[in-house]
Symmetry: D2
Subunit: 422 residues, 4 copies
């Protein structure tokens, strides 16, 4: 963790400006009847999980270029997650990936407690081979071979068991199963095998757990993917039962798709489970949240805030690949951009919006959303962090603390090379 | 209709070649244990409906360039449909669009009988204003105004009533409702209003009818569309009941989407109702079937033929916009291209395919599909037409008969201009 | 025009808030060394042309739903354009479309002068038939028939002649030529015919004029389009000569394309001529600027502002289809959103940005752009309008003036119907 | 290499069928005035290069699942290429990738000679780090650092030098340079740096060599890519000079792009250098040629065959990632599918096509292309192989020879794992 003295010093240098900006914004918001304090409290309650593997430099199939001080173990990763939450106060939980993060659950719990962290949804991995008896080259939960499917089911049940011991309450299942050639698989039977495997996993779910089904249009399979879109994810969740929900990842859709509408439909169906946040321009680019299409992120949050009265239980995680930045910095910035969209969406004058919608006043309805989006809520985010003990400017504070150099001195060097995500 | 003498003469000139090609193909197919006669019989049983409005030259928002002899009334259109079926023997039914085709049901029936035609699914139109009290500018079945929704429901019930009297057994509902601006509509409530309206229509459905829900990603709405994809279409069909099914149009999807997989998923869900055939490169281009991506058309049929043992009751229609061709020619060619894909898909060695799939032999599984696709089944299609009384070469025969010139002399001239679909 | 009393009254009601917001923003900007007055002056110098046809309600191929008080003549349209500029002070010029706007040039000049307007680039129309001898059904400037090409060339020369008399200095050529079927045209020869026609038009260009080549990936042609992308547009401009430049329309690209990069490349090539502004989610949706992806609009302006030292002579126009809003309101909002992006892009700390780029500090470089984008420059835009005699809130002022009701009482009613753009 | 006895035996079992099919097809083609022998000779002259790295199992960023008998060295790869050409007689040259294939040029030449192979274009690699002093994490030829650019230039010059010694006549430059964040790079200056580096490489090109510029819309960079489309590739080739040409890869375009039109435009500009063949459904999927959209492959060849009278000097290579098949089998099948499209395109009745195009008979023009495409030219391909000493059925023959098992016994086992292309 970073010395609190550094955080304090850095905040002190920015405190006067923050107070001025906060007061000015508060005054302006009050003119339209909005209490800035309500928004700041919402911002303080905001939380998004960090994926353990996101703390390492990511790569593409062409190459991976590691940085200095790459985390070598799950405990290194938790250290990095601790720093992210220390400075942003927006990421109190970590999501683990098994087998990458396999360790003694008691050690995991102890380490997390020390860092003030908890554990979010568990993630299984049946998209690469890690020494098991049966290869996932041709699929996992939907494989034609019963033995391979059983192995994949067993792995998921093990993830649940690990998660149970560290306080997780959900399992996220994303598989790369699909095909690269028309005809390679019988798409109908493959889906039935997938459902049968998922039912076995579902049967092993503790009473208070949820199972998240995550869809993705393509990659690593390039002709067909078993759970290719929200329609198939919905069918899956419907067939499994009440504890099965759909997870939406912003980069897993076909080009041009209206993602906020999928959110709305899944809310209607009672099957929205949460999000994997990132941004994208072409495919599953796994870019930093809010850096490519920030208004799209706002529109997603607009649906979520609109549905707040329903009391949805949503599970949010950042899911990105940090190929050219310090992953800690990217995760901090991303958490704040997601939080920013949430606060902006909370600013929408919903009564006015509903009125315009009822009158088919498309122009003013649209202007009402944009008015919220263009409000610079940075002072609210900064104030929320300060009040919770975090940093006004997390990146500047992190750099001032020279954390990366410090861990680089302790952690083994990692060489770049032939590609891959971790 | 075209004089049978012309058909006979034209066929006579091609008869010897056909017999030679048919025998050669038969011999080759028999080597791999396939009986050409079985395929010819399948081809003869093939049928796809023609949309009445497809007989007129279509347009874009930029312009419409009518041709000579445009049909002026539904009876002209039925005449044209009669010719299409006379020559191809593949389009025995016509699908009507109300109010465009509104006429005395008895007259419609009499005319159809005279031409040897029947009626397929009815199509309602609530995407343009045609003089009704309430405008559909801001929606129809999902409009915020109860009066407008009621009017749209009433129109659909009228379509059912007309259809009931002419022997139709299904209603296809496609609406353009949506929005052009984020915020213009509350996407959740809009969908709920749509469902409520659809339930009223469903309640008016005769016992032996079906209701087809058709999705489309965009156009005429350019930000959100109420029934934007198969997921929402499925939700709709699920909420309505057993008589509600999903219709798939090949041009109504996001870029890159695997349409044959949607077919497979809807079959799994028991909700596939049929197809609107066309081809596309960019959006809902409504191009002639099989002219852009013929292998995609084959892969769709591969799913349908694979599912034949399930005894699905599917309703197939051509849905195209013929902007630069004689619509009669395009409809004939399109019916034959769809039929071609069906026969090619019927050629797939499914036992071998299943074997390769079980062994994860992606290369040979894929090659098995391609072997069927590259078989030139033209002699089978020609023989099926001849045996049913049609033309070996429908386009050449049609041109020889100078049908277009004949009707152009009788029908009023239509001027081009500012665009639109009909 | 709207009574100045109404503008004054409306402004008076908002004046105190504006001053407070302006001062607060000015104070905040001065902390980072930015002088708000410099920005306000930039905002006051901003101008974007309004297309005459944009003042009428647009439609799709499915339908057009006109509103009240549709302009019936070019003089009505100029009246509407006068109001737009009166309130926004950002649209001093109008772009005409021939033959839609054909009228005595002296009358056009007199009317414009009375309204305080000038004329921007001329637009020719060879994508629909308007009574000429040769139809454009199968193309215009690239048609196989020499007579048709000559007619289209002649029409463009006439546009130049009209433009010359009303003070325009540029001709924009956008054609719909292409094909709907593979094989329909020989793509190479078609392009050569197009180039030959364009050379004839270029030869008729006055010395101080420019010729803008505008590309579009598809629509109204759905398989191939002669000028389908910026590469072909560039080839065209290169072959024509120094007065030929490329025009970029935000909605004319393939999905996912990085448009700001095309801007950068055309600047490199010395061939960027200007923009047609709008927004889009799927295709050439022609939605209101800044309503779908405002950050993309900002990134385009970021390139343009970056290139300001080059002294580019750019021609900017709004090009939208207003299907569900009052076109005057949409054009005002759009002009202001484009202006907003320009001012935000002018806020980018380019020295800091260059520094981060040199250090490969992707995170801070990206954050530098976002910091400018999230600054709420609304007070600057409002102040620029007030100082130039416009309205603080143009839409509210326009509504208060009841302009639409007034013209609706005078202009002939337009019935909706079968679709089309105008 | 595979024993000729096996080839002979396998051919003998298929010889009678081939002769029957060849005669039947010949008879049918002669009816329309086509001499089958002319086509068979064209098929025999067909050649496409194999990329050395394509003989290894490819992977994604998620995982790589190697098969048995993976080639461990360039000499193993050449052995595999020898088998591919032995059986297909369509792949006489191999394209090397440096540094992956670095070896003593004399040894490479000797090995190739022994296998009857030659060397095609050289490929440089500056998209991953392989131990050089400067990292390519933030770019190579366009890097902000002069040292890094110099290193990348030097590497390309080394590729030329190696190529010169083994008889290659071209260098293909594809770089992954770009950015993952708006603002990360100055897109204009980055392109200028790229051009400056390319000019240095171009200066080192032997007189009889060509330099191929290859574009790609995205990956590994996910916001911007320096050479993102054919427009930028064209600008590059124009600025470099006559020896610089553009290479088109079928999977490197934005969704929906008309690739055959790009071919046509590059031919017009005199800058088409050749192809990288593969197939794709979503992005740069690198799937086997002709397995997803075979008609698109045909349409590309239709442009190339149409341009044959121009005497273009084109360089063709297969560029695929074989993730789930035996790479040797995929390369053989792919070479044959590319050859198939070439022969089908050679079947197009160009005189008839031109006639239909001149008459704007879109329907018959399109039908003319489809008639060629649907002709099953398999007997021609088989006969061409037999006559050149290859196998009638390369895959069956390869399997009968058990080549893979034989090399698997000799080559070191490769473990799967974390992803990457090689």
């Amino acid at each position: 963790m970073i010395s609190n003295d550094i955080v304090t010093d850095q905040n002190a240098a920015r405190d006067a400006d923050l107070n001025a900006d906060y007061d000015a914004l508060g005054a302006r918001l009050s003119r339209s009847g909005t209490d800035i304090e309500t928004l700041t409290e919402k911002a303080m309650r905001f939380a998004v999980a960090v994926p353990s593997w996101g703390t390492g430099t990511g790569g593409t199939r062409f190459a991976r270029f590691p940085g200095a001080g790459e985390p070598a173990t799950i405990f290194d990763k938790l250290d990095d997650c601790g720093v992210i939450n220390q400075l942003t106060r927006a990421t109190p939980t970590v999501s683990l990936h098994i087998p990458w993060d396999k360790a003694d659950p008691d050690d995991l719990l102890a380490k997390a407690e020390q860092l003030g962290l908890g554990f979010d949804a568990m993630n299984s991995n049946t998209f690469s081979d890690t020494g098991d008896a049966h290869s996932y080259k041709f699929g996992s939960l939907s494989h034609v071979s019963e033995e391979t499917r059983a192995q994949a089911v067993e792995h998921n049940l093990e993830c649940i068991e690990i998660g149970r011991r560290i306080g997780s309450k959900a399992l996220t299942v994303w598989i790369g199963d699909g095909s690269n050639f028309p005809g390679q698989t019988h798409m109908g039977r493959q889906f039935e095998r997938y459902l049968a495997s998922m039912k076995q996993i579902y049967a092993g779910l503790p009473e208070d757990w949820r199972l998240f089904s995550e869809h993705k249009i393509y990659e690593p399979a390039f002709y067909s993917t078993v759970v290719q879109d929200w329609g198939t994810s919905l069918l899956t969740a419907q067939e499994l039962g009440d504890k099965a929900m759909c997870l939406v990842d912003l980069g897993h859709h076909a080009p041009n798709v209206n993602i906020e509408m999928i959110v709305s439909r899944l809310i209607h169906a009672g099957k929205l489970g949460g999000f994997h946040f990132n941004d994208s321009k072409y495919g599953d680019d796994d870019l930093d949240s809010g850096t490519i299409e920030p208004y799209r992120l706002f529109l997603v949050w607009n649906e979520l805030v609109d549905a707040e009265p329903r009391g949805l239980n949503l599970s949010h995680m950042i899911d990105q690949s940090h190929n050219v930045t310090d992953p800690i910095e990217s995760l901090m910035i991303s958490a704040m951009e997601i939080q920013r969209a949430y606060v902006q969406a909370s600013l929408v004058d919903r009564e006015a919006l509903t009125g315009y919608q009822q009158q088919n006043d498309a122009l003013m309805a649209s202007a009402t959303l944009r008015a919220a989006f263009r409000t610079d809520v940075e002072p609210i985010l900064q104030m929320a962090r300060v009040r919770a003990g975090g940093a006004i400017d997390p990146v500047a504070t992190y750099r001032a603390a020279a954390y990366r150099a410090a861990v680089a001195a302790k952690r083994p060097e990692v060489l770049g090379g032939g590609g891959g995500i971790v």
